[in-house]
Structures are given as C-alpha cells and as structure tokens.
C-alpha cells in the first residue's frame, strides 16, 4: 500500500495503482479528462488530467502515473488550473462550437469542463477552421461529426481492444488527424452504440436518439436489460412516461461498461400497437377474443370455475421473462396453496440463439436462472398435451407458448380454460380464453437472476399502459378466484416470503445492492454463465 496526500487529503491506495483513480477518490469527482477510460488502454493524449506532483518539475498526467508511497499531489493549484485552461483553449481552436445544434449538448465533456475551467474570453481567433467530415452516417446507428472530435481515441481503442472489429481509425496526422470509418467498411457491429457512450463530445451520436429529446429533460432509472441471460446493468432514460433510450450502467462483474445494440434497442418495443391495455376475453360460446373490462374477464373465469366444480385441475406454466417474485408467487399461491401443478418455466430449447462471446448470451431470456433456482424445469409441448383436458384450467404467466411452438399452440386448444397473463396481443393471447394485461420489466419493480447466478434489481421507470396491472396483482386476483387469498400484497411482501421460505435465496435477506448479489452458482448456472460470457468485455 502507498500513503499519498492529494489536495491535502491523506489516503491509502494500492502501490502502483493509477493516480487518476486515487485523485477521484480524494476529490470525490473525476479529474478533467477526455481520453482516460478505466478499461481501455492508456492513451495519455488529451492532457487534461495534468496534476502537480511534489518533486517533479513538470505537471504529470495522472492517468499514466503509478502511485508511489509518499506522493504529494495537487489537483486544484493555480498551475494545474492554468494548464487545463490552456488545453481547453487548444481543444476549441478548430472546434465548430456548434452547441445549439449539437445533440451532445447537456452531456458533453467539453461543455462541462469548459464550464468548470474555461477561459471565457476568446483568444481563439483562427479565421479558417479546419473542415472535416460532418453529419456522416458511419453505420446503421452511429453518426459522425469529425469537426467536434477531440481525438481522444476512445472509440478506436474500443473497437480494437474490446470488439476486435477495427472499423474506425484516425487517419492523416497533426491537426489534420481525423476519425473516420475505414474505406469500404461500416460501423455495424452489435456494440456500435458503445462508441457513442464513450465519445466525450458530439463527434459520435446515436442516429436512433439524436434530436428526439434534449437530455436534461430525461429522468434516469436503474434497471437491468431483459434481452438475454447476461443481465447487463442499464439505466432507462425516460420522460413523461416514454422511454427514449437505454444506456449501460457500469458493473465490473457483469457487463463492465458496455451493452449490446440488441439490448439497447429493446426500448422501442415497450410501447407499440400490440401492447395489451385491457383484458381480452373469448365468450363461453366461442369466437374470437375481444377487448373487455376486468369485470368481464373475472366473471368469465369465475363462471368456468363454477361450472367445472371441485374436480377442476389447475396447471401452471411459468416464464423465464417473469420476475423472480412473480415466478415464486405463481408457484406458492396458485401452486402450493391452490393445488396447481407447475409444468415448467419454458418450452425446452425455446429462445436460444448463438452467443457472441462478448455480452450477448445464447439464452435470450433474462430470468431462466431464477426459475431454475425455484426448482422449475423446462417443459415440452407433449407435457402440455398430456394435461390438456376439458376439466383443466391452464394459467400461463408471461410466456408466449403458442408463438414459440405450433405444437404447444395445438395443445392449448384442449384445455377447459386458458388464462394468459400476457403483455402483448401475441399468438397465445389470440388462443387464450382470458388474457389479463400485465407489465413489462420497465414498468415494475422486481428481481432477475442472470446466467451467472447474480440477483439484480429492476425499478419501475414507466407507468402502466391502460388498465394493465402488475402480474403480482393479477396472480393475487386469480388466487382469490380460486379461493385462496394470499398473505402478501406488495412486491416486498413476496420478496420477504421468498427469502424466508426458499433456501437458495436466503442470501437476499439483507437486500439487493445496486450492483446485484451473486448467489452460489449451481453447476448448470456456472456453465451457462461461462457461455454467456458475463464476465468478459
């Protein structure tokens, strides 16, 4: 360990560790910087993080200085202040200063550091600013403005060191140096939008997001991506009930700083014409299902239960998309209490594609590991067929069985009553007798367990659409219809019951921290985690 004094503050950090990080600890905020990034190689080119170190005649860049014992460092001295001012002035020399029409405004490092350290008078009087590429689409999702670029080389380092796809380069030299896409290539790998995240200025912007919302109006809610079993930590950026973008949230143990484009664009599917805003009910006499009120839906269920009498048999299908609390509530309330039989949590082999070796897992569902830890197994269409009978009630939780398998769809028709807790008017909703509208991950609180066995919390960012209700409320209503009122009413109640009753989740008793909580991995999860590459990238 090394004892250092930074801005008069004494602290102990690892010997040889990065002085930039030590300064962050001491200051409680980052040093001004453009090129430094915790997981990319050190470039040392922006020269913004210069600090004064006692005994050294020149200022040093903190990002490439290993901490030594006894170091005395100043980050706010006049000398440092002047240096940063000068660097910023250099940065503005050929910068177009087009902030009003720049979509980075509000989250631009150049703006922010200039606010803190700028000169605020213009010695910069070069008449002919250098012209470079502007408004150049370099990929399906990324727009380049090379004039705004500060040449920090974060994007090029990301594409060579993290994805290994090498689409962008810095061409020419001196003040003609220019970021651009390699001739004949486009920036279209599944991680392209990360370059937009790490670009400190408006040089790389998201073609999907640009000019849709000024960033200062956006509220930010912590969440977890539902696109695959990796469970990338993310934030939902939303305003007035509408999601505008997903951004990765740093978690060194899961997704580090990154997130794939596939997961990021899932926000576009939250709303949409097929979202269920009311129950859908097929009348007892048959025909196509139609939108209805909850009264009508529950009357339809109650009538069937009445008619089927005490011999009725409820069977249940859970879901790898459902949250852990919902899976548990289905199992405990409709299963154990109401005598239902849980057939499984997903159709065997469904929703599996190729992993990409970086973040995207083969399993494209977010919470299969949660269901497995509750003791649930996969089911087949044949299992459904076996149980299909006129005296049997099938309750499906958030699982589009009919859309995933024609055989399963066929099997659904053999049940006395199919009740579907869904979110969209999908194939299963069209086959079910009663479809109850639920919420998607961005609209409710709950937990996912990722492929590596890490429990992670999601928080409601968006309001429920129409009359849709949390699945827990729907399950509670169904329990009541079956004559079993649960002891819980909120997510927290369910979580407490889960922690108390399922040994696998006992570790959650102390709550779930923002970075999640790793459970001891059962063997099959460890394997799945390795495949999903949740610790890489």
């Amino acid at each position: 360990m090394a004892n250092v004094i930074i801005d008069g503050k004494q602290l102990e950090v690892a010997l040889g560790s990065n002085l930039f990080e030590a300064c962050t600890l001491a200051r409680g905020e980052l040093l001004p910087h453009f090129c430094y990034h915790p997981v990319l190689s050190i470039a040392g080119v922006c020269r913004m993080c210069q600090v004064e170190i006692e005994g050294m005649p020149k200022l040093q860049i903190a990002c490439n200085t290993p901490v030594k014992d006894g170091m005395v460092v100043r980050t706010r001295s006049e000398k440092v202040k002047t240096a940063v001012q000068q660097i910023l002035e250099f940065h503005l020399l050929h910068h177009p200063v087009d902030c009003p029409v720049c979509d980075q405004a509000g989250e631009c490092a150049l703006q922010e550091f200039y606010m803190d350290h700028g000169l605020y008078h213009a010695d910069v009087d070069v008449e002919d600013k250098l012209r470079k590429a502007k408004v150049k689409p370099i990929g399906r999702l990324v727009m380049l403005d090379a004039e705004r670029c500060v040449l920090c080389a974060r994007c090029t380092r990301f594409l060579s060191e993290i994805t290994g796809t090498w689409e962008l380069g810095i061409f020419n030299r001196g003040d003609h140096s220019e970021i651009d896409v390699t001739p004949g290539m486009t920036l279209d790998n599944n991680y392209s939008l990360n370059t937009v995240d790490i670009c400190p200025v408006g040089a790389l912007t998201s073609r999907d997001f640009r000019f849709r919302k000024r960033v200062w109006w956006l509220k930010v809610t912590d969440s977890v991506c539902a696109g695959c079993a990796t469970g990338c930590n993310m934030t939902i950026h939303h305003d007035q009930g509408v999601a505008y973008r997903f951004k990765p949230r740093t978690n060194p143990d899961v997704n580090r700083w990154w997130m794939c484009d596939h997961g990021r664009l899932l926000y576009t599917q939250i709303a949409g014409p097929d979202r269920l805003r009311t129950p859908w009910v097929r009348s007892a006499s048959g025909g196509e299902p139609a939108a209805a009120g909850f009264d009508q839906a529950y009357r339809r269920i109650a009538a069937w239960l009445e008619q089927a009498g005490p011999g009725r048999k409820p069977v249940l299908v859970a879901s790898p998309h459902a949250m852990l609390e919902e899976q548990y509530a289905l199992q405990a309330l409709l299963g154990e209490q109401a005598g239902g039989r849980v057939l499984g949590y997903r159709l065997a082999g469904a929703e599996q594609q190729l992993a990409d070796g970086l973040l995207l897992s083969a399993d494209r569902t977010p919470n299969a590991a949660g269901a497995r830890r509750l003791g649930m197994a996969e089911l087949s269409a044949a299992d459904l067929q076996t149980h299909a009978a006129a005296d049997t009630l099938l309750v499906i939780l958030d699982n589009d069985l009919a859309g995933l398998s024609p055989e399963a769809a066929q099997a659904l028709t053999g049940f006395g009553l199919v009740v579907y807790l869904g979110t969209r008017l999908d194939a299963t909703a069209r086959l079910a007798d009663v479809t109850l509208p639920g919420l998607v991950y961005a609209e409710k609180d709950g937990l996912f367990v990722n492929a590596g066995g890490r429990v992670q919390a999601l928080h409601a960012a968006l309001p429920a659409p129409g009359e849709a209700k949390p699945q827990l409320a729907l399950l509670r209503d169904l329990g009541e219809l079956l004559g079993h009122l649960p002891a819980w009413s909120t997510v927290d109640d369910v979580r407490s019951a889960l922690v108390a009753r399922v040994a696998a989740f006992g570790a959650l008793a102390g709550g779930v921290p923002p970075a999640g909580l790793a459970l001891d991995a059962p063997p099959e999860d460890a394997a799945a985690g390795a495949k999903g590459g949740s610790k890489r990238g």
Binding site: W166, T182, P183, G184
Partner: protein, 203 residues
C-alpha cells in the same frame, strides 16, 4: 513469423506467369478460403511479380510479426505499382491478415505513401530552413510557374508532380530536390530548367 504466404509462388524464370491472381492471393495459413475470396473480390485482384513475391516471402520470414511486415510490404507495392491503386490496400490487408484500418492509417500518416498517382516525376523540393536560406522559395516558385501546378498537384499529363518537402537531409547543399531515389542538390533555376527539359524528352 507464423504467416506463410502462397506456396505457389512462381520460381525464377516464370516471369509474368506468376501474375495470375489465383496463385498469390492464397493468404496466411489457416485463414479460410471464403474470407479471402471475399477480400479479393472486394478490390481488384493484384499479384506481385515473381521477384517481388520472393521479396515478400523474405519479408514475412524475417520480420517478427505480420504487423512489422506491413511497412516493407507497402514499399514493395509502391515499387511495383508506383502508388496504392484502388483495391491494393485491401489486397495487402488480406495477404498479411491485418485489419484494413491499420493499412489506411499508415498510408495516410506517412508522406511517402500515395493513395493517388504521384506522377512519373515527383519533384519534392525542400522548403526547410537551410534550403530556405539558400533560395528554395525561388526554385519552388519557378517550378509552379513552369509546370503550372501548385504544390501537392500533378500536371495534366501525369508527368510531373510538385511537392514542398520538409528537411531531406541535404542542408549543406541547398536548394535541393528529391526525385525518385535521386537527390538533386545545389539547384539553380537554370539547372532545374535543364532537368525538366531532359525529363520531358523522356529521360
């Protein structure tokens, strides 16, 4: 270096026959043939002459890795084709199995690599201090007028290109210019005129 190029490189005496694209585009061992075909069709098919192919083989044998072999390979291309014609950077990236961006970064960073035709006679006149003190500006201005081109331009016939060069290490003998591999030192306007006429006549 692990990369071994074509095993079909023409031996001595095969001359232009070695120019068949199929023979020399066989790239690094282990690379899949389909990928190489894709690279090949992305640009024009190129092939080193037998002599240059042998030089290329020696480069990849002597240099420690494929990246270090890149610069000498680009020189070999300039020796054979004069400049990096369209598709040639892609072809080099394929033969060495290096990311294309690395090839273009080098080609745009170094002043002696050309992505456009530098003309038959590329007159690189030093404009740096010592030559400047000895009248380099007069030589450059004279050539601008005489050839009708600005520095960085090639004349209409593609015969002459004029460039202002930085110090070429002939400081005691300025003004001077570099043409091809030859230094022309202690230049006077009369001498420049004689050279231009000689080159116009073809030699």
């Amino acid at each position: 270096m692990s990369e071994q190029g074509t095993t079909e490189a023409a031996g001595p005496g095969k001359g232009q026959a070695a120019g068949r694209a199929t023979a020399s585009i066989a790239g690094p061992a282990g690379a899949d043939a389909a990928g190489q075909t894709a690279r090949q069709t992305a640009g024009q098919p190129y092939a080193f002459t037998a002599e240059n192919e042998a030089k290329f083989q020696r480069i990849i044998q002597r240099y420690p890795d494929k990246f270090t072999a890149l610069m000498p390979t680009l020189w070999l291309c300039h020796d054979q084709w004069g400049w990096m014609r369209p598709g040639l950077p892609e072809w080099v990236a394929g033969r060495l199995d290096v990311p294309l961006v690395r090839v273009y970064e080098l080609l745009t960073f170094y002043t002696m690599f050309y992505l456009e035709n530098p003309g038959r006679y590329n007159l690189q006149v030093c404009r740096n201090v010592s030559c400047h003190l000895m009248g380099a500006r007069r030589i450059i201005d004279h050539l601008r007028a005489r050839l009708g081109v600005e520095p960085g331009q090639t004349d209409r016939e593609g015969l002459f290109r004029l460039e202002e060069a930085e110090c070429l290490g002939a400081c005691g003998y300025g003004p001077m210019m570099l043409v091809g591999k030859d230094y022309y030192e202690n230049l006077t306007i009369e001498r420049v005129d004689r050279l231009i006429e000689q080159w116009r006549r073809g030699g």
